[in-house]
């Protein structure tokens, strides 16, 4: 021990100050975390089914109402004859999945906006008045982005088929319509419950727009085309392929839909005619690593920027992917699975110059007296493709409507653009889901519509007319 150290003060000035500053800093981290956590997690915490405070708010406040964008009531709490509170859904089945139900667990907007609906932000003075009068406080009302006329059109257009329709504004991300079938009447959810639960096959409660996973079929050619353009930015327009109705892989064979032969096609017409052989041929040439990167960028196998429940789309491409699998992937078959909403998001990005706006359902929250509690503004998620790439895809999608598989959308008061798909899900029987995804007007896109009809057959014949009725309801006034 050095003599200096022996004389040294034990607990000198410097060390005490350091330790003090250190602990104070630690507490600032603690306080920051505490405030941040409480502020960012309050909704999720209250919505947790283990949180008994929901009942507490239920006793204090009357649950708020849910409105459509035009001010129509989609859900409200009223008193029945015996004075008990009941939740009423004036449109019955029409908004079943979008608005959801309350009894038997929550779903849809009833679940997503639960926090706001439960709480009452009327001024403290009014709360006291209500309490003195022995009444419950009126809960906050939620205004959605959903449009009744559009939902109506989509609901009726889909008719008795099983499937899904989603419509959104590509410039803002507002979801205007969201229909899933088979449906149910949320007013009678409790009495229907047993029946719905026992039916394993229909999946009545599943919101097919956000949670239904389907093979994308030819609609996936949007992605394949994008990848091909990215790999061949100079020469993609000089691509040629002569289609003889089918193409051989190492151990498999891919045929065009219903055995058609497309002859010599360039990329544009491979797309507009939806030539499987030509796309399988492209699939053989794609760089697997670059393709995987593009898929990541387009949110396959990734979380989507959504504030409500959904399923992730999946497609794994890696260095080990076989040629057969690449051919299947290129035409949207094989292991690929996508939700209708995800496909609508990709279409919206192409329609919006490459930029994806986050899709959303809640527009604003108001108190019973009309005071604003919270407003949800459109939010940009990120650029999914360059402006040029978006322009090329849009142009090709226009060709589909003009001369290809989507001609049932041509000759209208507006010009539409889109891509059809017939996704095979049962090879032996040759059964397929009918897809369409597209937007209109082509020059200044205002509405994206994505349709899937389960087991109907060709997208051009079945899905396009459904989409057309939704476009008509919005654009052909």
């Amino acid at each position: 021990m050095s003599p200096e150290e022996g004389k040294r003060e034990k607990g000198g000035k410097k060390e005490i100050v350091q330790v003090t500053v250190g602990f104070v800093a630690l507490f600032f981290v603690l306080m920051g975390y505490f405030v941040f956590y409480a502020a960012t997690h309050k909704e999720e915490l209250l919505n947790n089914s283990y949180n008994s405070r929901q009942q507490l708010f239920g006793e204090q406040n009357r649950r708020g109402a849910i409105y459509a964008r035009g001010g129509e009531i989609l859900a409200e709490t009223v008193c029945d004859k015996s004075g008990d509170e009941v939740r009423r859904y004036p449109y019955d089945e029409m908004f079943a999945h979008a608005v959801g139900y309350l009894e038997k667990g929550r779903s849809g907007i009833e679940a997503q906006a639960n926090y706001y609906l439960l709480r009452s932000d009327i001024p403290a003075v009014d709360k006291v008045k209500e309490e003195i009068g022995g009444k419950k406080n009126p809960g906050n009302n939620v205004y959605t982005t959903l449009s009744v006329p559009l939902q109506e059109a989509a609901f009726h257009a889909l008719g008795i088929y099983r499937g899904a329709v989603v419509a959104l504004d590509p410039k803002t991300g507002e979801i205007l319509a969201m229909v899933s079938k088979p449906d149910f009447d949320p007013n009678r959810i409790s009495e229907l419950w047993e029946e719905i639960i026992e039916d394993d096959e229909s999946g009545t409660l599943v919101n097919r727009v956000t949670q239904g996973l389907y093979p994308p079929g030819s609609t996936f050619k949007l992605v394949t085309t994008l990848e091909y353009i990215r790999e061949n930015p100079e020469s993609y327009s000089s691509y040629r392929y002569t289609c003889s109705g089918s193409i051989e892989g190492e151990n498999s064979r891919i045929s065009c839909y219903h055995g058609s032969r497309h002859g010599t096609v360039d990329l544009r017409h491979s797309f507009s005619e939806s030539c499987n052989s030509s796309y399988a041929n492209i699939g053989k040439q794609l760089d697997r690593e670059a393709f995987a990167e593009t898929l990541d960028g387009l949110l396959f196998n990734q979380p989507l920027p959504l504030r409500f429940a959904y399923n992730q789309s999946s497609l794994a491409v890696g260095p080990d992917t076989s040629e057969d699998e690449m051919m299947q992937a290129a035409i949207g078959q094989g292991k690929t699975q996508i939700t209708p909403l995800h496909l609508a998001m990709l279409t919206a990005a192409a329609a919006n110059g490459g930029i994806l706006m986050k899709p959303y359902l809640l527009d604003r929250v108001e108190t019973a007296e009309g005071g604003t509690v919270k407003r949800f503004a459109p939010e940009e998620y990120k650029r999914l493709m360059s402006e040029e790439e978006a322009a090329i895809l849009s142009d090709y999608m226009k060709e589909v409507v003009e001369s290809g598989t989507g001609t049932k959308l041509s000759g209208l008061s507006y010009t539409a653009a889109g891509k059809t798909g017939s996704a095979e899900y049962n090879r032996q029987k040759g059964e397929s889901h009918a897809w369409f995804t597209g937007f209109a007007p082509a020059k200044d896109p205002q509405l994206v519509v994505t349709v899937i009809i389960e087991g109907a057959g060709s997208g051009g014949d079945y899905a396009v007319p459904v989409a057309r009725r939704v476009f008509d309801a919005y654009l052909d006034k």
Partner: protein, 445 residues
């Protein structure tokens, strides 16, 4: 009328508490206690206002006449503590006393809201503890040779913790309590004071490598005994206190790093060996996946925290009872739920202001031993606050230690009051190192 009181009292509580908190830091603008006396008086008034505005909604809700008497007794006890302390020890730091009384008052109110019987029990223990606390500075001054009892401190600590390990009562898987003559108490709460004295005295003897190694061995035995009793929170407090005191004594950062390394290794080992450690860590990393088991407590605590908002739901308007062990381990979450985030932040700041005053006091003590012991006690105190609040908000895993002065628990209240009094005693006895005379930095010696 009642509804108005319930609805508006929470805003008043937050308002008064923020003024009080402001004064807690305003003291540091002045060097001497005389200059600060105006602040202290304002604090005493604000303490009264916060206490009353907390009590009114409690009374409105319950309407029980005995609550009024209980409230009056609380008032008397708190102000008697403040007055007697000042009369007996005019030199003692009044910020520490005021903050102690403020925190005790908050504790009474919250316990009263959770359980009247527990609040009364806590109150009686607090009154006894305050009387003991009043004697302590005098005791510290009279007994001159505190620094010579090194081996007695070490032997006492090891013996007491060993007895608990061998004979203690098992509660929730931990051996924490030991009963003497029908009174059950938690020795680790008291031994931490003795432990601090032990570390301070052994380090004052010599800073040779072998002496430090010996201190590490003796401290390590006590920490090991605590870990075996599954009193992980205390083990952690002892450990951190030891490492920081060694750093304070030597000024060598290498001891901090060595402590960090050793602590990290010990934590990993504990994680591998003990299933209850794994349960705690699991409940911290993802409580939602084990919400039915190990994560239940912490998720209920988070529900309470997420529910309150800035001003809280108001007393009796929330559901703090849904958190298991709310009155001991999760009282902070109960406060956040009903009194709000702003009030909780005020509480944290009041704890910090106490700590800064402890360290400031320690810093101005001339004698090495007294200074080191005072700083060590400051670390014991603030680290415990960090563990309990940090655990309740899920910043760190739960350790199950109490929130000083507020949590329910006789041993906790008594030991914290004693600790505060010991620090005052050390300050009054150790002699002042600096004589601040308006200048920014005083001269050494």
């Amino acid at each position: 009328m009642g509804e108005y009181i319930t609805e508006f009292s929470k805003y008043l509580i937050t308002l008064f508490a923020s003024f009080y908190t402001y004064e807690c830091f305003a003291v540091f603008r002045y060097q001497t206690e005389e200059e600060r006396s105006g602040i202290y008086l304002r604090q005493n008034l604000l303490l009264f206002l916060v206490h009353v505005s907390c009590f009114l909604p409690v009374y409105v809700k319950t309407g029980r006449i005995e609550f009024i008497f209980f409230f009056l007794f609380q008032q008397i006890a708190l102000y008697a503590t403040i007055v007697f302390y000042h009369l007996l020890y005019p030199e003692a730091n009044r910020l520490i006393i005021n903050n102690m009384c403020f925190l005790l008052a908050v504790g009474f109110i919250v316990l009263m809201r959770l359980s009247y019987d527990k609040a009364v029990r806590q109150f009686i223990i607090t009154v006894v503890s305050s009387v003991i606390g009043l004697c302590i500075p005098g005791l510290i001054t009279r007994v001159r040779k505190w620094k010579d009892y090194t081996w007695f401190y070490a032997a006492g600590g090891i013996a007491a913790l060993g007895i608990v390990l061998a004979l203690g009562r098992v509660t929730n898987g931990s051996r924490l309590f030991y009963s003497v003559l029908g009174v059950s108490f938690q020795p680790s709460e008291f031994i931490k004071l003795v432990f601090t004295f032990f570390v301070a005295s052994i380090l004052c003897k010599s800073l040779s490598f072998w002496n430090i190694a010996l201190s590490a061995l003796l401290a390590g035995i006590q920490i090991f005994l605590l870990a075996l009793s599954r009193d992980l929170g205390s083990a952690l407090i002892y450990f951190v206190t030891y490492v920081i005191m060694v750093y304070l004594a030597t000024g060598h950062k290498r001891y901090l790093f060595a402590g960090l390394l050793g602590g990290g290794a010990a934590s990993c080992l504990a994680y591998r060996l003990f299933s209850h450690v794994q349960v705690r860590v699991q409940a911290w990393r993802d409580p939602w996946s084990v919400i039915d088991g190990g994560g239940y407590q912490i998720t209920q605590s988070l529900f309470a925290i997420g529910c309150g908002g800035l001003f809280g739901l108001g007393l009796y308007q929330g559901m703090p009872d849904s958190i298991p062990y709310v009155e001991t381990d999760f009282i902070f979450s109960a406060i956040t739920e009903e009194l709000g985030i702003l009030f909780s932040l005020c509480l944290i700041l009041i704890y910090i202001s106490c700590f800064i005053m402890f360290m400031y006091t320690a810093y101005s003590i001339r004698d090495d031993f007294y200074r080191l012991a005072a700083a060590g006690l400051g670390v014991v105190y603030i680290f415990q606050v960090f563990l309990t609040i940090g655990g309740g908000v899920k910043l760190i895993p739960l350790t199950g230690v109490t929130l000083p002065f507020i949590s329910y628990g006789g041993s906790s209240v008594l030991s914290t009051i004693v600790m505060f009094s010991v620090i005052q005693g050390l300050y009054l006895t150790g002699g002042k190192r600096y004589v601040p005379r308006g200048g920014k930095a005083g001269k050494r010696r």
